[in-house]
């Protein structure tokens, strides 16, 4: 016999606290007939277990909530559907156009991505005869592992109120390791495609990888030094990030800049979309991919961008901290987190409207020259800041 009430209380004690739900509940109870139904539903129980209550409780149970809703899969999924659409709309605006619209004119074409996804889904998947068949199909799917695992360590909460699936002292290190793993899969996919352009694209990807990876790691390291911890739950409260004056971007803007450029390079956004440059190598690694497999490859870059933007929010923009929204309780942290992440992502994707593309050697010299210098400087700066803060306080 399972100790149901014990289990329930474990879940209840560790759940996201949203006062609004109680307000709604009480409001519903006051409505004559509906109130009765609601009360009945909530009390309805099988084997002494209130079904509806425990479902709600389970959804709000922190490990579940953080993994599935914010900042986990649901957020990621919504981002993937909304972000490319927002990108197309915003870039369209910059270019004096309107972007996708006619599909759903009243909401400005917001379901465009849905149509594209389904179209890819129903399209033929071609495996050309020169490809290495198994790897060709496996790599895009395997790519999901390093892309999805970092979600476990993203903290969408604020100081003292972590919203993170797994708390560990090595969270940042694990995330960096997983992020660093991603290009391997792209290179693998390109190699399996066995095409000239994907070969060139793979080589370019590899070069770019080396160029941004080191500054990227050093920039994160600088922040770890600054906060004195690499646990994502504690990073937020590191230097009391609840005030925006203590955000990472104020304390160490150099690391933030390095991180942002590295992010653009890592996600192959303009001006660094060198591995995938469509005018030059026709989507490089993905040139041979068709149908839904290309669809996956197409959104993988956005997924990666989400993970990196989430790290950036945690490290530099105070995670979920922000003015408390009444009645939302801990959910308000989650909302601030999503908003901040979305803004970072929008800035990132809209670089496309502003910059042309660098050449590979120029990007490499930026990576190994300017960025590396900046990253090292950021590290030194962090040390100095830590010492100064230590002296003052």
């Amino acid at each position: 016999m399972i100790d149901i009430s014990g289990l329930i209380s474990t879940i209840m004690n560790n759940s996201v606290n949203i006062p609004l739900l109680y307000v709604i509940y009480e409001f519903l109870l006051k409505i004559p007939v509906l109130g009765g139904i609601v009360a009945f539903l909530l009390d309805f129980s099988i084997l002494g277990m209130p079904v509806v209550k425990s479902i709600i409780g389970f959804v709000l149970w922190k490990p579940f909530f953080t993994l599935i809703i914010i900042p986990g899969f649901a957020t990621l999924g919504t981002m993937l559907l909304v972000l490319p659409w927002l990108e197309r709309k915003l870039v369209g605006r910059m270019q004096w156009r309107v972007g996708p619209r006619e599909i759903e004119p009243y909401t400005r074409g917001s379901i465009q991505l849905l149509a594209d996804t389904f179209r890819f889904l129903f399209q033929e998947v071609i495996i050309h005869k020169d490809a290495h068949k198994h790897y060709f199909l496996q790599f895009p799917f395997l790519y999901f592992i390093p892309v999805l695992l970092p979600l476990l360590f993203i903290n969408a909460g604020a100081a003292g109120h972590p919203l993170v699936p797994i708390q560990t002292d090595y969270a940042l290190q694990i995330m960096i390791a997983l992020v660093s793993l991603m290009p391997v899969f792209i290179i693998g996919a390109a190699w399996a495609a066995n095409n000239r352009f994907s070969f060139i694209g793979a080589v370019r990807e590899a070069f770019m990888y080396f160029a941004y990876e080191i500054p990227f790691i050093i920039a994160v390291l600088a922040m770890i030094v600054l906060y004195g911890t690499s646990n994502t739950a504690e990073v937020i409260s590191g230097v009391n990030q609840s005030s925006w004056l203590n955000w990472g971007i104020i304390l160490n803007p150099f690391a933030a800049l390095t991180f942002f450029i590295a992010m653009a390079m890592a996600t192959s956004r303009l001006p660094f979309d060198i591995p995938e440059a469509d005018q030059e190598v026709a989507f490089g690694p993905f040139v041979e991919y068709t149908g839904i497999v290309f669809g996956l490859a197409y959104i993988m870059a956005y997924e990666k961008a989400y993970v990196l933007a989430a790290i950036m929010t945690m490290l530099f923009f105070g995670g979920g901290s922000g003015p408390v929204i009444p009645y939302l309780g801990e959910l308000s942290y989650g909302i601030w987190f999503v908003v901040k992440t979305l803004i970072i992502l929008l800035v990132l994707v809209n670089l496309r409207g502003v910059y042309p593309r660098y050449r590979i050697d120029q990007a490499l010299s930026i990576g190994w020259g300017a960025m590396l210098t900046l990253a090292l400087f950021a590290l030194v700066w962090s040390v100095v800041v830590v010492v100064v803060i230590g002296v003052i306080i």
């Binding site: 197309r88 870039v91 369209g92 910059m94 270019q95 004096w96 156009r97 309107v98 972007g99 996708p100 619209r101 006619e102 599909i103 074409g109 465009q112 849905l114 149509a115 594209d116 996804t117 389904f118 179209r119 889904l121 129903f122 399209q123 033929e124 998947v125 071609i126 000239r196 352009f197 060139i200 303009l270 001006p271 979309d273 060198i274 440059a277 469509d278 005018q279 030059e280 026709a282 989507f283 993905f286 040139v287 041979e288 991919y289 068709t290 149908g291 290309f294 496309r352 409207g353 502003v354 910059y355 042309p356 593309r357 660098y358 050449r359 590979i360 050697d361 120029q362």
Partner: protein, 772 residues
């Protein structure tokens, strides 16, 4: 093609059919399959003026990622293979729309030897007529396709057969006689002597006689600025050497072969000119010689004038003349493997244009054209072998590539450096020179306009000036100014197109959109004037088709201001962008000597530091009465070429402004009396008298050559007339992009792989113009 609607059937099958249809409808992604000049309008349809992305139609990716081909106009025999290939590579379900008259039944090129009908090659969903189509109708075609996918069958147009009352109205309409060569054995003479008032020419003739002593047969002044030297095949080389060495004729402007079958001979001619001596700049020296039709061999002058290289290859394919010393003899360069051999020979006949049909003769409108059978356009094998012997990789770009247009270039790349580049033009070779031999002089105006649909007026002007030159017509002053204004508008238009492509090649779509927006504004007055966005055909021998009213002139004036503001925005987002400068500066350098050696023309020559502009050197129209400067640069790199053209836009705007001011004060006819003859009432509008006036133009006997500065450089037209037929005997077009191809390839060598697009964009290479 068993079931042309297989793709629709697929969408309608299965339980998920509504979802399938819905998603296919809103996600038609066309692949980058630019095939011909209608591609310019495609660019407009997806740029900010019309924004095809509204319909969920995103121009992204190559064949593998897309599900929709928009075939833009002509599919030549060479391109037909690419089309079939691309179609085959696309995942099902896939859709095909064909835009432009050419794609249906050939349009203006219906009787060309090098075109095919796309509907024979792939199953077509919709044809969208127009030459070029307007962006509206292109998008309308997308709409129609969406309806088709959803199962709505909308017949937009119903065709009815009409009986044309040809016979009764014939007298009254004055239908021109069908074009044809009258005499079976016309007399073709290249050096017809003309008496002109040209003192320098006499001096020059004297010098030439002295320098070339014993090497020539005759030296004739054939017109202002043109001298013809007749020589023997043996001494051709020597003459060329002397001309280059002693007389500074450092580049060749045209190579031409004229076949005279009834005299069993070819006339081979080279036209040389000079970039280094100022007085010689406007002078065109033609050296020509005659060779027998059997086993026609002649020394290639490639070693003297490198610019002749590609033209010799081309003429070898057209006529079979063997240029000894050119390493490309016996190989295909411009034509497809299955194009008829030696198509420009007179014995190769194409279907005739006719206007008056005899009762029982079936007209040849529908030429059945065999679609090509094999799918393989081979890359030159030795090139590949050589590459594999060393540790280089071979990368072919195009004709279906997001960054190539309709040109195939095969690279040998070592590391990231381009060791060698092998150009392969001809994907839009539509045989204009042959077609022109079968059309009336006046009909050739729209034909040659299709050389560069984004620079139509200059192409138009270049041809018309040649005809005028031959007929000796003086254009009235008002018409001169108006033509200047139009030509400059067209120049601005072409440069912005190139700038747009340049930014697109850097992945900068915003710059592209801004340029297209500016073009949209320039197209507006052209549309007001002639009713056509990109093919006005407004300039006719003797002047213009009709007068331009003062409010349209006012509109042009306003637009010059409006452009200014938008151009500022373009400059701030693209031109001054640090990334652009980093990418373009010092890349693809073409030194002055190289530019001259390759026979570059236009802004690309000037960017390398040669001060040569036909508008100044041999002024035509009203250019010498207006105040403007020639733009030259010294760097000769991509940035220099790009900025140079932006500078020229400013000068052009200046010219347009002045022109508008002046022309408002000039009243008078816009058509010359010389050409109107008895139809004087048409002097301000040709409407109603068009064929009466122009239908039967016959040029005097001889060869007529004119150079005109089109947007991308000097355009040279040579017309040979037998003096009695209403069609030219031979027309030779040297379009600027064709001239620039050599220099383009030179500039690419040694650069990085990614730089190819910087160089490509900076040369504004427009394949339909190059391939003719």
């Amino acid at each position: 093609m068993e079931n042309p609607n297989e793709h629709i059937d697929f969408l309608e099958s299965g339980p998920l059919a509504p979802l399938k249809k819905w998603s296919a409808k809103w996600s038609l992604w066309p692949c980058h399959f630019i095939t011909s000049c209608c591609g310019v309008e495609l660019a407009h349809a997806f740029a900010c003026g019309y924004d095809g992305e509204r319909l969920g139609t995103l121009n992204l990716g190559i064949s593998r990622q897309s599900n929709f081909i928009i075939i833009e106009g002509t599919i030549t025999r060479k391109m037909a293979r690419a089309l079939k290939f691309v179609y085959g590579q696309m995942p099902d379900p896939k859709f095909v729309n064909v835009i432009g008259a050419c794609g249906e039944r050939g349009g203006i090129f219906w009787n060309s030897y090098n075109i095919t009908h796309p509907s024979d090659i792939v199953p077509v969903d919709f044809f969208i007529p127009g030459c070029p189509v307007t962006p509206e109708s292109l998008l309308r075609g997308v709409r129609a396709l969406q309806d088709k996918i959803m199962g709505v069958d909308k017949k937009t147009i119903e065709f009815k057969k009409v009986e044309l009352p040809f016979e009764e109205k014939l007298e009254e309409r004055m239908v021109p006689t069908s074009p044809k060569i009258y005499a079976p054995t016309p007399e073709i003479k290249v050096d017809v002597k003309r008496v002109v008032d040209w003192d320098f020419g006499k001096e020059l003739e004297h010098t030439l006689r002295k320098e070339l002593k014993g090497l020539f047969e005759s030296i004739t002044i054939t017109g202002t600025n043109t001298i013809a030297i007749r020589t023997t095949p043996e001494s051709l080389m020597e003459v060329a050497r002397k001309l280059k060495g002693q007389m500074n004729f450092d580049h060749v402007k045209s190579v031409n072969v004229i076949e005279v079958p009834h005299e069993r001979k070819y006339i081979v001619e080279y036209m040389a000119s000079s970039y280094s001596v100022e007085e010689l700049m406007p002078v065109l020296i033609t050296i020509f010689t005659e060779i027998g039709i059997k086993n026609p061999k002649i020394q290639s002058l490639m070693s003297v004038w490198e610019g002749a290289n590609y033209s010799e290859r081309e003429l070898h394919e057209f006529f079979g003349v063997w240029f000894e010393g050119n390493d490309w003899m016996g190989k295909k360069f411009l034509l497809a493997p299955d194009t008829p051999d030696l198509p420009l020979r007179k014995e190769f006949k194409i279907p005739e244009d006719r206007y008056v049909f005899e009762k029982d003769v079936e007209p040849e409108f529908m030429v059945p054209i065999e679609p090509p059978k094999d799918l393989y356009t081979p890359i030159w094998e030795e090139f590949i072998e050589e590459a594999y012997d060393s540790d280089e990789i071979v990368v072919p770009i195009g004709p279906h590539h997001p960054g190539s247009g309709h040109l195939r270039v095969t690279f040998r790349i070592k590391g990231d450096r381009i060791v060698d580049a092998l150009p392969e033009p001809g994907f839009v070779h539509r045989s204009m020179e042959k077609l022109a031999e079968n059309k009336l002089y006046i009909q050739n105006i729209p034909l040659f306009e299709r050389l560069a649909i984004n620079d139509p007026v200059n192409m138009n002007l270049a041809y018309v000036r040649t005809v005028e030159n031959a007929l000796g017509i003086e254009v009235p002053e008002r018409a001169q100014y108006l033509r200047t204004i139009l030509a400059e508008l067209s120049r601005i238009e072409a440069f912005y197109y190139d700038a747009g492509i340049f930014s697109l090649f850097f992945g900068h779509t915003t710059g592209f959109m801004y340029c297209m927006a500016i073009r949209e504004m320039i197209i507006e007055p052209l549309m007001h004037i002639s009713g056509s966005r990109c093919g006005p055909s407004f300039i006719v021998p003797g002047g213009l088709r009709r007068d331009i009213s003062d409010d349209v002139l006012g509109m042009i004036d306003n637009i010059t201001f409006a452009i200014h503001k938008r151009a500022k925005k373009f400059e701030s987002i693209f031109v001054t962008n640090p990334v652009t400068i980093a990418r373009a500066k010092g890349v693809g350098v073409l030194a002055k000597e190289d530019a001259i050696r390759c026979g570059m023309v236009g802004p690309f020559l000037r960017a390398s530091g040669v001060n040569y502009d036909v508008r100044k050197v041999a002024p035509y129209e009203a250019y010498d009465k207006l105040d403007w400067e020639v733009t030259t640069g010294d760097d000769g790199d991509c940035l220099g070429r790009f900025l140079g053209r932006l500078e020229e836009i400013r000068e052009s705007v200046k010219i347009v402004k002045q022109g508008v001011d002046v022309v408002k004060g000039i009243k008078g006819p816009i058509l010359s009396e010389d050409i109107l003859g008895e139809y004087k009432e048409a002097s301000s509008d040709i409407k109603g008298n068009f064929f009466r006036v122009f239908g039967n133009i016959v040029l005097p006997k001889g060869e007529w050559t004119t150079i005109t500065e089109a947007a991308r450089g000097t355009t040279l037209f040579t017309i040979n007339s037998d003096g009695e037929s209403n069609v030219p005997y031979r027309v030779r077009v040297m379009s600027p992009c064709w001239m620039n191809l050599k220099g383009f390839m030179e500039a690419v060598k040694g650069e990085r792989y990614a730089d190819f697009w910087a160089v490509y964009g900076s040369f504004g290479y427009f394949p339909p113009e190059a391939d003719r």
